[in-house]
Symmetry: C2
Protein backbone atom coordinates (compact mmCIF):
# COMPACT_ATOMS: atom_id res chain seq x y z
CA UNK A 1 0.00 0.00 0.00
CA UNK A 2 0.94 3.67 -0.51
CA UNK A 3 0.65 5.84 2.56
CA UNK A 4 -0.25 9.38 1.55
CA UNK A 5 -0.70 12.55 3.57
CA UNK A 6 -3.64 14.56 2.25
CA UNK A 7 -4.05 18.28 2.83
CA UNK A 8 -7.60 18.48 4.13
CA UNK A 9 -8.03 21.77 5.99
CA UNK A 10 -6.52 25.21 5.46
CA UNK A 11 -4.96 26.27 8.76
CA UNK A 12 -5.41 29.67 10.36
CA UNK A 13 -2.21 30.35 12.25
CA UNK A 14 -0.20 27.24 13.09
CA UNK A 15 -0.94 24.13 11.08
CA UNK A 16 -2.40 21.65 13.58
CA UNK A 17 -2.85 17.90 13.21
CA UNK A 18 -6.28 18.39 11.62
CA UNK A 19 -4.60 20.05 8.63
CA UNK A 20 -3.77 16.63 7.20
CA UNK A 21 -5.22 13.17 6.92
CA UNK A 22 -3.06 10.06 6.53
CA UNK A 23 -4.59 7.55 4.10
CA UNK A 24 -3.54 4.29 2.46
CA UNK A 25 -4.17 3.58 -1.20
CA UNK A 26 -2.96 0.90 -3.56
CA UNK A 27 0.45 1.58 -5.07
CA UNK A 28 -0.29 3.13 -8.49
CA UNK A 29 0.78 1.57 -11.82
CA UNK A 30 2.81 3.71 -14.20
CA UNK A 31 1.04 4.48 -17.51
CA UNK A 32 2.95 4.71 -20.80
CA UNK A 33 5.60 7.41 -20.52
CA UNK A 34 5.52 7.30 -16.72
CA UNK A 35 7.76 6.05 -13.97
CA UNK A 36 6.94 4.69 -10.52
CA UNK A 37 9.10 6.16 -7.77
CA UNK A 38 9.51 4.68 -4.31
CA UNK A 39 10.20 7.76 -2.23
CA UNK A 40 12.89 7.70 0.44
CA UNK A 41 12.97 11.22 1.84
CA UNK A 42 10.76 14.26 1.68
CA UNK A 43 11.81 17.83 2.32
CA UNK A 44 10.27 20.07 4.98
CA UNK A 45 10.52 23.79 4.24
CA UNK A 46 8.97 26.90 5.81
CA UNK A 47 7.60 27.87 2.40
CA UNK A 48 5.16 24.95 2.66
CA UNK A 49 3.16 26.94 5.20
CA UNK A 50 2.58 29.64 2.57
CA UNK A 51 1.45 27.10 -0.02
CA UNK A 52 -1.45 26.21 2.32
CA UNK A 53 -2.96 29.69 2.16
CA UNK A 54 -5.63 30.49 -0.38
CA UNK A 55 -3.84 33.63 -1.58
CA UNK A 56 -2.20 34.83 -4.76
CA UNK A 57 1.44 33.91 -4.55
CA UNK A 58 4.33 32.71 -6.71
CA UNK A 59 2.75 29.26 -6.90
CA UNK A 60 -0.84 27.96 -6.92
CA UNK A 61 -2.31 27.38 -3.46
CA UNK A 62 -2.63 23.68 -2.62
CA UNK A 63 -6.07 22.27 -3.32
CA UNK A 64 -8.00 20.76 -0.43
CA UNK A 65 -7.84 16.99 -0.69
CA UNK A 66 -4.57 16.92 -2.63
CA UNK A 67 -1.41 15.15 -1.48
CA UNK A 68 0.67 17.54 0.65
CA UNK A 69 3.15 19.21 -1.70
CA UNK A 70 6.84 18.57 -0.93
CA UNK A 71 10.18 18.08 -2.55
CA UNK A 72 11.40 14.49 -2.43
CA UNK A 73 14.05 12.02 -3.48
CA UNK A 74 13.60 8.33 -4.22
CA UNK A 75 14.25 5.36 -6.47
CA UNK A 76 12.68 4.44 -9.80
CA UNK A 77 11.16 0.96 -9.32
CA UNK A 78 9.26 0.73 -12.61
CA UNK A 79 9.71 2.68 -15.81
CA UNK A 80 7.73 3.16 -18.99
CA UNK A 81 9.74 6.29 -19.79
CA UNK A 82 12.94 5.96 -21.82
CA UNK A 83 14.62 8.80 -19.92
CA UNK A 84 14.64 6.90 -16.62
CA UNK A 85 15.77 3.39 -15.77
CA UNK A 86 14.76 1.14 -12.91
CA UNK A 87 17.33 1.70 -10.16
CA UNK A 88 17.83 5.38 -10.98
CA UNK A 89 17.55 7.74 -8.06
CA UNK A 90 15.52 10.86 -8.84
CA UNK A 91 14.51 14.08 -7.14
CA UNK A 92 11.41 16.19 -7.79
CA UNK A 93 8.25 17.39 -6.10
CA UNK A 94 6.75 14.04 -5.20
CA UNK A 95 4.72 15.17 -2.21
CA UNK A 96 4.29 13.58 1.20
CA UNK A 97 3.64 10.00 0.14
CA UNK A 98 5.57 6.77 -0.26
CA UNK A 99 5.03 6.13 -3.95
CA UNK A 100 4.31 8.34 -6.93
CA UNK A 101 3.82 7.88 -10.64
CA UNK A 102 4.95 10.75 -12.82
CA UNK A 103 5.76 11.54 -16.44
CA UNK A 104 9.12 12.74 -15.12
CA UNK A 105 8.63 16.45 -15.78
CA UNK A 106 10.54 18.38 -13.15
CA UNK A 107 12.43 15.23 -12.09
CA UNK A 108 16.15 14.74 -12.47
CA UNK A 109 18.49 11.90 -11.62
CA UNK A 110 20.89 12.12 -8.69
CA UNK A 111 23.90 10.01 -7.78
CA UNK A 112 23.80 8.50 -4.26
CA UNK A 113 27.53 7.69 -4.53
CA UNK A 114 28.43 11.39 -4.73
CA UNK A 115 26.30 12.57 -1.82
CA UNK A 116 23.81 11.06 0.62
CA UNK A 117 20.25 11.15 -0.69
CA UNK A 118 18.98 13.75 1.86
CA UNK A 119 21.61 16.21 0.58
CA UNK A 120 19.82 16.24 -2.79
CA UNK A 121 16.78 17.84 -1.18
CA UNK A 122 18.99 20.07 1.00
CA UNK A 123 22.21 21.71 -0.07
CA UNK A 124 22.00 20.28 -3.59
CA UNK A 125 18.24 20.88 -3.78
CA UNK A 126 15.86 23.78 -3.37
CA UNK A 127 17.33 25.26 -0.15
CA UNK A 128 20.87 25.17 -1.54
CA UNK A 129 19.77 26.73 -4.84
CA UNK A 130 17.93 29.43 -2.90
CA UNK A 131 21.07 30.21 -0.92
CA UNK A 132 23.34 30.19 -3.96
CA UNK A 133 21.33 32.46 -6.24
CA UNK A 134 20.01 34.57 -3.39
CA UNK A 135 23.35 35.60 -1.96
CA UNK A 136 25.25 35.78 -5.25
CA UNK A 137 22.67 37.16 -7.69
CA UNK A 138 20.32 39.14 -5.45
CA UNK A 139 22.70 39.97 -2.60
CA UNK A 140 25.50 40.66 -5.10
CA UNK A 141 28.17 40.05 -2.46
CA UNK A 142 31.73 41.04 -3.07
CA UNK A 143 34.93 40.47 -1.13
CA UNK A 144 35.07 42.48 2.08
CA UNK A 145 31.30 42.87 2.47
CA UNK A 146 29.76 42.47 5.89
CA UNK A 147 26.96 39.93 5.52
CA UNK A 148 24.23 39.25 8.06
CA UNK A 149 21.99 36.18 7.74
CA UNK A 150 19.03 35.10 9.86
CA UNK A 151 17.91 31.51 10.22
CA UNK A 152 21.65 31.00 10.05
CA UNK A 153 21.77 27.38 11.18
CA UNK A 154 18.98 26.39 8.81
CA UNK A 155 18.97 24.78 5.41
CA UNK A 156 19.22 28.06 3.50
CA UNK A 157 20.99 30.31 6.00
CA UNK A 158 23.86 27.91 6.73
CA UNK A 159 24.68 27.71 3.01
CA UNK A 160 24.29 31.47 2.51
CA UNK A 161 26.85 32.14 5.23
CA UNK A 162 29.34 29.55 3.98
CA UNK A 163 29.16 30.86 0.40
CA UNK A 164 29.72 34.38 1.68
CA UNK A 165 32.78 33.15 3.62
CA UNK A 166 34.11 31.43 0.48
CA UNK A 167 33.71 34.76 -1.33
CA UNK A 168 35.74 36.65 1.28
CA UNK A 169 32.99 38.33 3.28
CA UNK A 170 32.69 38.85 7.03
CA UNK A 171 29.66 36.80 8.07
CA UNK A 172 27.44 37.16 11.13
CA UNK A 173 24.62 34.68 11.70
CA UNK A 174 21.48 34.98 13.80
CA UNK A 175 20.18 31.71 15.24
CA UNK A 176 18.20 30.46 18.22
CA UNK A 177 20.15 28.89 21.06
CA UNK A 178 23.78 28.31 22.04
CA UNK A 179 24.08 25.00 20.20
CA UNK A 180 23.21 26.54 16.84
CA UNK A 181 25.44 29.53 17.48
CA UNK A 182 28.36 27.26 18.34
CA UNK A 183 27.68 25.24 15.21
CA UNK A 184 27.79 28.17 12.79
CA UNK A 185 30.91 29.71 14.29
CA UNK A 186 32.90 26.58 15.23
CA UNK A 187 31.86 24.18 12.48
CA UNK A 188 30.88 26.46 9.61
CA UNK A 189 33.41 29.25 10.18
CA UNK A 190 31.04 32.21 10.57
CA UNK A 191 32.80 35.23 12.09
CA UNK A 192 30.12 35.76 14.70
CA UNK A 193 26.76 34.54 15.94
CA UNK A 194 23.83 36.19 17.68
CA UNK A 195 21.56 34.01 19.79
CA UNK A 196 18.24 35.78 19.32
CA UNK A 197 16.60 33.68 22.02
CA UNK A 198 19.04 34.75 24.72
CA UNK A 199 20.75 37.94 23.56
CA UNK A 200 19.74 41.43 22.49
CA UNK A 201 19.99 41.32 18.70
CA UNK A 202 20.22 45.11 18.60
CA UNK A 203 23.17 45.34 21.00
CA UNK A 204 25.05 42.35 19.66
CA UNK A 205 24.68 43.61 16.10
CA UNK A 206 26.27 46.92 17.13
CA UNK A 207 29.16 45.03 18.75
CA UNK A 208 29.73 42.60 15.90
CA UNK A 209 29.13 44.98 12.98
CA UNK A 210 30.29 48.36 14.29
CA UNK A 211 30.43 49.79 10.76
CA UNK A 212 27.09 48.31 9.73
CA UNK A 213 26.15 45.68 7.19
CA UNK A 214 26.35 45.54 3.40
CA UNK A 215 24.00 42.62 2.87
CA UNK A 216 21.22 41.22 5.01
CA UNK A 217 19.81 37.87 3.89
CA UNK A 218 16.42 37.65 5.57
CA UNK A 219 14.71 34.35 6.26
CA UNK A 220 12.63 35.47 9.21
CA UNK A 221 11.09 38.96 8.85
CA UNK A 222 9.49 40.61 11.88
CA UNK A 223 11.51 42.32 14.58
CA UNK A 224 14.88 41.07 13.30
CA UNK A 225 14.33 42.61 9.86
CA UNK A 226 13.48 45.87 11.57
CA UNK A 227 16.67 45.80 13.63
CA UNK A 228 18.80 44.92 10.60
CA UNK A 229 17.38 47.99 8.82
CA UNK A 230 18.88 50.21 11.51
CA UNK A 231 22.40 48.96 10.70
CA UNK A 232 22.57 49.35 6.92
CA UNK A 233 25.62 50.77 5.23
CA UNK A 234 25.39 52.92 2.14
CA UNK A 235 24.04 50.98 -0.88
CA UNK A 236 23.21 47.94 1.27
CA UNK A 237 21.13 45.11 -0.16
CA UNK A 238 18.43 43.20 1.70
CA UNK A 239 17.44 39.87 0.21
CA UNK A 240 13.87 38.94 1.12
CA UNK A 241 13.92 35.16 0.98
CA UNK A 242 11.25 34.41 3.56
CA UNK A 243 9.60 35.49 6.78
CA UNK A 244 9.39 32.43 9.01
CA UNK A 245 8.41 34.57 12.02
CA UNK A 246 5.28 35.74 10.19
CA UNK A 247 4.02 32.62 8.41
CA UNK A 248 1.79 31.49 11.26
CA UNK A 249 0.34 34.95 11.92
CA UNK A 250 -3.38 35.14 12.37
CA UNK A 251 -3.21 38.92 12.09
CA UNK A 252 -1.52 41.10 9.50
CA UNK A 253 2.16 40.61 8.85
CA UNK A 254 4.39 43.05 10.75
CA UNK A 255 5.79 45.47 8.21
CA UNK A 256 9.32 46.84 8.64
CA UNK A 257 8.82 50.19 10.41
CA UNK A 258 12.41 51.19 9.68
CA UNK A 259 12.04 50.86 5.92
CA UNK A 260 12.98 54.53 5.45
CA UNK A 261 16.52 53.43 6.21
CA UNK A 262 16.41 52.30 2.57
CA UNK A 263 16.12 55.96 1.62
CA UNK A 264 18.73 57.28 4.03
CA UNK A 265 21.23 54.63 2.91
CA UNK A 266 20.22 54.38 -0.77
CA UNK A 267 19.62 50.73 -0.08
CA UNK A 268 17.64 48.05 -1.87
CA UNK A 269 15.21 45.44 -0.59
CA UNK A 270 14.53 42.75 -3.16
CA UNK A 271 12.37 39.66 -3.10
CA UNK A 272 13.38 36.36 -4.63
CA UNK A 273 11.85 33.03 -5.60
CA UNK A 274 14.32 30.27 -6.41
CA UNK A 275 12.30 28.85 -9.31
CA UNK A 276 13.39 31.82 -11.45
CA UNK A 277 16.88 30.31 -11.65
CA UNK A 278 15.74 26.80 -12.60
CA UNK A 279 17.78 26.85 -15.81
CA UNK A 280 20.97 27.42 -13.82
CA UNK A 281 20.44 24.78 -11.09
CA UNK A 282 22.98 22.50 -12.78
CA UNK A 283 25.69 25.15 -12.64
CA UNK A 284 25.00 25.80 -8.96
CA UNK A 285 24.89 22.10 -8.03
CA UNK A 286 28.21 21.52 -9.77
CA UNK A 287 29.86 24.47 -7.99
CA UNK A 288 28.47 23.54 -4.60
CA UNK A 289 29.34 19.88 -5.09
CA UNK A 290 32.90 20.96 -5.77
CA UNK A 291 33.01 23.12 -2.65
CA UNK A 292 31.67 20.17 -0.65
CA UNK A 293 34.34 17.86 -2.08
CA UNK A 294 36.99 20.43 -1.16
CA UNK A 295 35.64 20.60 2.39
CA UNK A 296 34.71 24.28 2.02
CA UNK A 297 30.96 23.74 2.24
CA UNK A 298 29.32 21.60 4.89
CA UNK A 299 25.84 20.20 4.63
CA UNK A 300 23.85 19.04 7.62
CA UNK A 301 20.53 17.26 7.52
CA UNK A 302 18.31 16.54 10.49
CA UNK A 303 16.46 13.38 9.52
CA UNK A 304 13.26 12.20 11.23
CA UNK A 305 11.42 9.00 10.40
CA UNK A 306 7.90 7.93 9.56
CA UNK A 307 5.32 9.58 7.34
CA UNK A 308 2.90 9.50 10.28
CA UNK A 309 5.25 11.88 12.11
CA UNK A 310 4.97 14.59 9.45
CA UNK A 311 2.82 17.03 11.54
CA UNK A 312 5.13 17.09 14.56
CA UNK A 313 8.20 17.23 12.33
CA UNK A 314 6.72 20.11 10.32
CA UNK A 315 6.17 22.07 13.56
CA UNK A 316 9.94 22.01 14.16
CA UNK A 317 10.39 24.43 11.25
CA UNK A 318 8.73 27.14 13.32
CA UNK A 319 9.87 26.25 16.83
CA UNK A 320 13.43 25.94 15.53
CA UNK A 321 13.75 22.59 17.30
CA UNK A 322 16.03 21.09 14.64
CA UNK A 323 19.58 21.40 13.38
CA UNK A 324 20.21 22.03 9.69
CA UNK A 325 18.00 20.88 6.87
CA UNK A 326 14.81 19.17 8.08
CA UNK A 327 14.08 15.89 6.28
CA UNK A 328 11.56 13.11 6.83
CA UNK A 329 12.29 9.52 5.85
CA UNK A 330 9.01 8.10 4.50
CA UNK A 331 10.22 4.75 3.19
CA UNK A 332 9.75 1.77 5.49
CA UNK A 333 12.83 -0.45 5.61
CA UNK B 1 18.32 94.83 7.76
CA UNK B 2 18.38 91.09 7.03
CA UNK B 3 15.32 89.19 8.25
CA UNK B 4 16.31 85.66 9.18
CA UNK B 5 14.29 82.70 10.38
CA UNK B 6 16.17 80.80 13.07
CA UNK B 7 15.47 77.16 13.91
CA UNK B 8 15.10 77.33 17.69
CA UNK B 9 13.19 74.23 18.84
CA UNK B 10 13.08 70.64 17.55
CA UNK B 11 9.44 69.79 16.94
CA UNK B 12 7.79 66.56 18.04
CA UNK B 13 5.11 65.82 15.47
CA UNK B 14 4.00 68.86 13.48
CA UNK B 15 6.33 71.82 13.44
CA UNK B 16 4.47 74.59 15.25
CA UNK B 17 5.17 78.33 15.28
CA UNK B 18 7.55 77.97 18.24
CA UNK B 19 9.90 75.93 16.02
CA UNK B 20 11.28 79.14 14.58
CA UNK B 21 12.15 82.65 15.61
CA UNK B 22 12.19 85.57 13.16
CA UNK B 23 15.07 87.96 13.84
CA UNK B 24 16.60 91.00 12.14
CA UNK B 25 20.32 91.47 11.80
CA UNK B 26 22.48 93.87 9.82
CA UNK B 27 23.03 92.82 6.22
CA UNK B 28 26.40 91.05 6.23
CA UNK B 29 29.45 92.24 4.29
CA UNK B 30 31.12 89.79 1.92
CA UNK B 31 34.70 88.87 2.89
CA UNK B 32 37.40 88.28 0.29
CA UNK B 33 36.31 85.44 -1.98
CA UNK B 34 32.66 85.86 -1.00
CA UNK B 35 29.51 87.18 -2.62
CA UNK B 36 26.47 88.86 -1.10
CA UNK B 37 23.19 87.45 -2.40
CA UNK B 38 19.83 89.17 -2.08
CA UNK B 39 17.48 86.23 -1.97
CA UNK B 40 14.22 86.35 -3.93
CA UNK B 41 12.61 82.94 -3.36
CA UNK B 42 13.12 80.06 -0.99
CA UNK B 43 12.02 76.48 -1.55
CA UNK B 44 9.68 74.58 0.79
CA UNK B 45 10.07 70.81 0.67
CA UNK B 46 8.74 67.95 2.83
CA UNK B 47 12.33 66.77 3.39
CA UNK B 48 12.88 69.87 5.56
CA UNK B 49 10.80 68.25 8.27
CA UNK B 50 13.30 65.38 8.41
CA UNK B 51 16.24 67.76 8.67
CA UNK B 52 14.78 69.06 11.95
CA UNK B 53 15.08 65.68 13.68
CA UNK B 54 18.15 64.85 15.71
CA UNK B 55 18.64 61.51 13.96
CA UNK B 56 21.21 59.91 11.70
CA UNK B 57 20.16 60.59 8.15
CA UNK B 58 21.60 61.41 4.73
CA UNK B 59 22.40 64.94 5.92
CA UNK B 60 23.41 66.48 9.26
CA UNK B 61 20.49 67.46 11.48
CA UNK B 62 20.01 71.22 11.67
CA UNK B 63 21.66 72.80 14.70
CA UNK B 64 19.46 74.66 17.15
CA UNK B 65 19.91 78.38 16.61
CA UNK B 66 20.97 78.08 12.95
CA UNK B 67 19.18 79.73 10.06
CA UNK B 68 16.45 77.39 8.80
CA UNK B 69 17.99 75.35 5.95
CA UNK B 70 16.36 75.81 2.53
CA UNK B 71 17.11 75.93 -1.15
CA UNK B 72 16.94 79.44 -2.58
CA UNK B 73 17.44 81.63 -5.62
CA UNK B 74 18.52 85.27 -5.67
CA UNK B 75 20.69 88.00 -7.10
CA UNK B 76 24.36 88.76 -6.48
CA UNK B 77 24.50 92.37 -5.20
CA UNK B 78 28.16 92.46 -4.18
CA UNK B 79 31.03 90.23 -5.22
CA UNK B 80 34.56 89.64 -4.04
CA UNK B 81 34.64 86.31 -5.90
CA UNK B 82 35.84 86.28 -9.51
CA UNK B 83 33.41 83.49 -10.44
CA UNK B 84 30.34 85.64 -9.82
CA UNK B 85 29.42 89.14 -11.01
CA UNK B 86 27.05 91.67 -9.54
CA UNK B 87 23.74 91.15 -11.31
CA UNK B 88 24.16 87.38 -11.66
CA UNK B 89 21.27 85.27 -10.47
CA UNK B 90 22.32 82.25 -8.44
CA UNK B 91 20.74 79.26 -6.78
CA UNK B 92 21.98 77.31 -3.76
CA UNK B 93 21.07 76.45 -0.20
CA UNK B 94 20.80 79.98 1.18
CA UNK B 95 18.34 79.23 3.95
CA UNK B 96 15.26 81.14 5.07
CA UNK B 97 16.67 84.66 5.14
CA UNK B 98 16.78 87.70 2.91
CA UNK B 99 20.52 88.10 2.47
CA UNK B 100 23.43 85.70 2.63
CA UNK B 101 27.18 85.88 2.17
CA UNK B 102 28.83 82.77 0.79
CA UNK B 103 32.06 81.64 -0.81
CA UNK B 104 29.88 80.33 -3.62
CA UNK B 105 30.41 76.61 -2.97
CA UNK B 106 27.26 74.76 -4.04
CA UNK B 107 25.97 77.85 -5.86
CA UNK B 108 25.43 78.04 -9.59
CA UNK B 109 24.20 80.80 -11.90
CA UNK B 110 20.76 80.65 -13.47
CA UNK B 111 19.26 82.63 -16.34
CA UNK B 112 15.98 84.41 -15.52
CA UNK B 113 15.35 84.94 -19.24
CA UNK B 114 15.09 81.18 -19.87
CA UNK B 115 12.73 80.39 -16.99
CA UNK B 116 11.07 82.28 -14.12
CA UNK B 117 13.24 82.30 -10.99
CA UNK B 118 10.93 80.01 -8.92
CA UNK B 119 11.35 77.28 -11.56
CA UNK B 120 15.03 77.08 -10.66
CA UNK B 121 14.14 75.83 -7.19
CA UNK B 122 11.35 73.65 -8.60
CA UNK B 123 11.45 71.72 -11.84
CA UNK B 124 14.99 72.84 -12.63
CA UNK B 125 16.05 72.48 -8.98
CA UNK B 126 16.09 69.78 -6.35
CA UNK B 127 12.50 68.48 -6.85
CA UNK B 128 12.96 68.23 -10.60
CA UNK B 129 16.30 66.47 -10.22
CA UNK B 130 14.72 64.06 -7.74
CA UNK B 131 11.97 63.24 -10.21
CA UNK B 132 14.34 62.86 -13.16
CA UNK B 133 16.90 60.55 -11.59
CA UNK B 134 14.34 58.78 -9.43
CA UNK B 135 12.05 57.65 -12.21
CA UNK B 136 14.73 57.07 -14.85
CA UNK B 137 17.65 55.65 -12.85
CA UNK B 138 15.95 54.02 -9.86
CA UNK B 139 12.53 53.29 -11.38
CA UNK B 140 14.21 52.21 -14.64
CA UNK B 141 11.03 52.87 -16.62
CA UNK B 142 10.66 51.59 -20.13
CA UNK B 143 8.02 52.11 -22.80
CA UNK B 144 4.75 50.38 -21.96
CA UNK B 145 5.30 50.28 -18.20
CA UNK B 146 2.39 51.06 -15.91
CA UNK B 147 3.63 53.74 -13.51
CA UNK B 148 1.89 54.83 -10.31
CA UNK B 149 2.98 57.98 -8.48
CA UNK B 150 1.75 59.43 -5.20
CA UNK B 151 1.91 63.12 -4.34
CA UNK B 152 1.17 63.35 -8.04
CA UNK B 153 0.28 67.04 -8.18
CA UNK B 154 3.34 68.01 -6.15
CA UNK B 155 6.75 69.32 -7.10
CA UNK B 156 8.31 65.88 -7.54
CA UNK B 157 5.28 63.74 -8.45
CA UNK B 158 4.04 66.00 -11.23
CA UNK B 159 7.43 65.84 -12.96
CA UNK B 160 7.77 62.07 -12.40
CA UNK B 161 4.46 61.47 -14.13
CA UNK B 162 5.22 63.77 -17.06
CA UNK B 163 8.62 62.20 -17.66
CA UNK B 164 7.00 58.75 -17.58
CA UNK B 165 4.46 59.94 -20.17
CA UNK B 166 7.27 61.30 -22.38
CA UNK B 167 8.90 57.84 -22.15
CA UNK B 168 5.74 56.05 -23.30
CA UNK B 169 4.38 54.74 -20.01
CA UNK B 170 0.81 54.59 -18.76
CA UNK B 171 0.70 56.90 -15.76
CA UNK B 172 -1.73 56.96 -12.84
CA UNK B 173 -1.41 59.64 -10.18
CA UNK B 174 -2.67 59.73 -6.60
CA UNK B 175 -3.51 63.21 -5.29
CA UNK B 176 -5.80 64.82 -2.75
CA UNK B 177 -8.94 66.51 -4.07
CA UNK B 178 -10.75 66.92 -7.37
CA UNK B 179 -8.85 70.05 -8.39
CA UNK B 180 -5.47 68.29 -8.26
CA UNK B 181 -6.84 65.21 -10.00
CA UNK B 182 -8.26 67.35 -12.80
CA UNK B 183 -4.95 69.14 -13.08
CA UNK B 184 -2.82 66.01 -13.52
CA UNK B 185 -5.15 64.40 -16.05
CA UNK B 186 -6.32 67.46 -17.99
CA UNK B 187 -3.28 69.67 -17.87
CA UNK B 188 -0.42 67.23 -17.43
CA UNK B 189 -1.78 64.35 -19.51
CA UNK B 190 -1.76 61.59 -16.89
CA UNK B 191 -3.87 58.61 -17.93
CA UNK B 192 -5.76 58.47 -14.66
CA UNK B 193 -6.03 60.00 -11.22
CA UNK B 194 -7.09 58.71 -7.83
CA UNK B 195 -8.42 61.21 -5.30
CA UNK B 196 -7.26 59.63 -2.05
CA UNK B 197 -9.30 62.06 0.02
CA UNK B 198 -12.59 61.06 -1.58
CA UNK B 199 -12.10 57.68 -3.25
CA UNK B 200 -11.06 54.17 -2.25
CA UNK B 201 -7.46 53.96 -3.42
CA UNK B 202 -7.68 50.15 -3.36
CA UNK B 203 -10.74 49.95 -5.58
CA UNK B 204 -9.71 52.69 -7.98
CA UNK B 205 -6.28 51.14 -8.41
CA UNK B 206 -7.88 47.84 -9.40
CA UNK B 207 -10.04 49.66 -11.95
CA UNK B 208 -7.27 51.79 -13.41
CA UNK B 209 -4.45 49.20 -13.34
CA UNK B 210 -6.23 45.88 -13.87
CA UNK B 211 -2.96 44.16 -14.74
CA UNK B 212 -1.02 45.75 -11.89
CA UNK B 213 1.84 48.22 -11.83
CA UNK B 214 5.45 48.02 -12.96
CA UNK B 215 6.74 51.03 -11.07
CA UNK B 216 5.46 52.81 -7.98
CA UNK B 217 7.13 56.12 -7.18
CA UNK B 218 6.37 56.70 -3.51
CA UNK B 219 6.37 60.16 -1.98
CA UNK B 220 3.94 59.45 0.85
CA UNK B 221 4.44 56.04 2.54
CA UNK B 222 1.82 54.76 4.98
CA UNK B 223 -1.43 53.17 3.82
CA UNK B 224 -0.95 54.08 0.16
CA UNK B 225 2.41 52.30 -0.04
CA UNK B 226 0.78 49.24 1.48
CA UNK B 227 -2.02 49.28 -1.09
CA UNK B 228 0.42 49.76 -3.97
CA UNK B 229 2.30 46.66 -2.78
CA UNK B 230 -0.83 44.57 -3.37
CA UNK B 231 -0.84 45.50 -7.06
CA UNK B 232 2.75 44.79 -8.13
CA UNK B 233 3.53 43.03 -11.36
CA UNK B 234 6.43 40.65 -11.72
CA UNK B 235 9.81 42.41 -11.33
CA UNK B 236 8.14 45.66 -10.26
CA UNK B 237 10.23 48.50 -8.85
CA UNK B 238 9.24 50.73 -5.94
CA UNK B 239 11.14 53.98 -5.63
CA UNK B 240 11.22 55.22 -2.02
CA UNK B 241 11.59 58.96 -2.44
CA UNK B 242 9.84 60.10 0.71
CA UNK B 243 7.06 59.41 3.20
CA UNK B 244 5.16 62.66 3.68
CA UNK B 245 2.37 60.86 5.55
CA UNK B 246 4.84 59.75 8.22
CA UNK B 247 7.09 62.79 8.72
CA UNK B 248 4.97 64.31 11.48
CA UNK B 249 4.46 61.02 13.35
CA UNK B 250 4.96 61.13 17.06
CA UNK B 251 4.96 57.35 17.15
CA UNK B 252 6.88 54.84 15.05
CA UNK B 253 6.60 55.00 11.29
CA UNK B 254 4.04 52.59 9.82
CA UNK B 255 5.96 49.84 8.05
CA UNK B 256 4.57 48.29 4.86
CA UNK B 257 2.77 45.14 6.06
CA UNK B 258 2.50 43.87 2.51
CA UNK B 259 6.25 43.89 1.90
CA UNK B 260 6.24 40.15 1.20
CA UNK B 261 4.69 41.07 -2.13
CA UNK B 262 8.30 41.89 -3.01
CA UNK B 263 9.06 38.18 -2.65
CA UNK B 264 5.99 36.92 -4.47
CA UNK B 265 6.62 39.29 -7.38
CA UNK B 266 10.45 39.28 -7.32
CA UNK B 267 10.16 43.01 -6.89
CA UNK B 268 12.55 45.65 -5.64
CA UNK B 269 12.12 48.52 -3.20
CA UNK B 270 14.94 51.01 -3.40
CA UNK B 271 15.61 54.24 -1.57
CA UNK B 272 17.07 57.33 -3.18
CA UNK B 273 18.62 60.64 -2.22
CA UNK B 274 18.96 63.16 -5.04
CA UNK B 275 22.36 64.46 -3.92
CA UNK B 276 23.95 61.25 -5.26
CA UNK B 277 23.38 62.50 -8.79
CA UNK B 278 24.82 65.98 -8.23
CA UNK B 279 27.40 65.52 -10.97
CA UNK B 280 24.65 64.92 -13.52
CA UNK B 281 22.32 67.81 -12.56
CA UNK B 282 23.47 69.76 -15.62
CA UNK B 283 22.48 66.98 -17.99
CA UNK B 284 19.06 66.69 -16.35
CA UNK B 285 18.43 70.45 -16.33
CA UNK B 286 19.31 70.66 -20.02
CA UNK B 287 16.99 67.78 -20.93
CA UNK B 288 14.12 69.08 -18.82
CA UNK B 289 14.63 72.63 -20.11
CA UNK B 290 14.32 71.26 -23.63
CA UNK B 291 11.14 69.37 -22.78
CA UNK B 292 9.74 72.56 -21.24
CA UNK B 293 10.60 74.56 -24.36
CA UNK B 294 8.88 71.91 -26.47
CA UNK B 295 5.76 72.14 -24.29
CA UNK B 296 6.10 68.52 -23.17
CA UNK B 297 6.87 69.30 -19.55
CA UNK B 298 4.86 71.78 -17.50
CA UNK B 299 6.09 73.38 -14.33
CA UNK B 300 3.78 74.92 -11.78
CA UNK B 301 4.83 76.90 -8.74
CA UNK B 302 2.55 78.01 -5.95
CA UNK B 303 4.18 81.20 -4.66
CA UNK B 304 3.41 82.74 -1.27
CA UNK B 305 4.88 85.98 0.03
CA UNK B 306 6.65 87.20 3.13
CA UNK B 307 9.33 85.55 5.23
CA UNK B 308 7.09 86.05 8.29
CA UNK B 309 4.60 83.68 6.66
CA UNK B 310 7.04 80.77 6.51
CA UNK B 311 5.42 78.66 9.30
CA UNK B 312 1.91 78.70 7.83
CA UNK B 313 3.29 78.16 4.33
CA UNK B 314 5.40 75.24 5.51
CA UNK B 315 2.30 73.59 7.02
CA UNK B 316 0.76 73.45 3.52
CA UNK B 317 3.30 70.77 2.57
CA UNK B 318 1.54 68.34 4.90
CA UNK B 319 -2.09 69.47 4.60
CA UNK B 320 -1.71 69.43 0.82
CA UNK B 321 -3.26 72.90 0.65
CA UNK B 322 -1.15 73.99 -2.31
CA UNK B 323 -0.86 73.35 -6.02
CA UNK B 324 2.50 72.36 -7.49
CA UNK B 325 5.85 73.42 -6.15
CA UNK B 326 5.61 75.43 -2.92
CA UNK B 327 7.74 78.59 -2.94
CA UNK B 328 8.02 81.58 -0.61
CA UNK B 329 9.03 85.00 -1.86
CA UNK B 330 11.23 86.50 0.85
CA UNK B 331 12.40 89.68 -0.91
CA UNK B 332 10.49 92.87 -0.16
CA UNK B 333 9.72 94.90 -3.30
Amino acid sequence: MNKQLLFVKRPVGEAGDDTWDLVSNPIPEPADGEILVKQHYISLDPAMRGWMNDAKSYIEPMAIGSVMRAGSVGEVIASKNSKFNVGDFVSGHGGVQQYITTDGKGYYTVDPKLAPLPTYIGTLGMPGMTAYFGILEVGKIKEGDVVLVSGAAGAVGSIVGQIAKIKGCTVIGIAGGAEKCDYITNELGFDGAIDYKNESVRNRLKELCPKGIDVYFDNVGGEILDIALTRLRLHARIVICGAISQYNNKMAVKGPSNYLSLLVNRATMQGMVVFDWAKRYGEAAQQMGMWMAQGKLKSKEDVYEGIENFPETFARLFTGNKMGKLVLKVIED
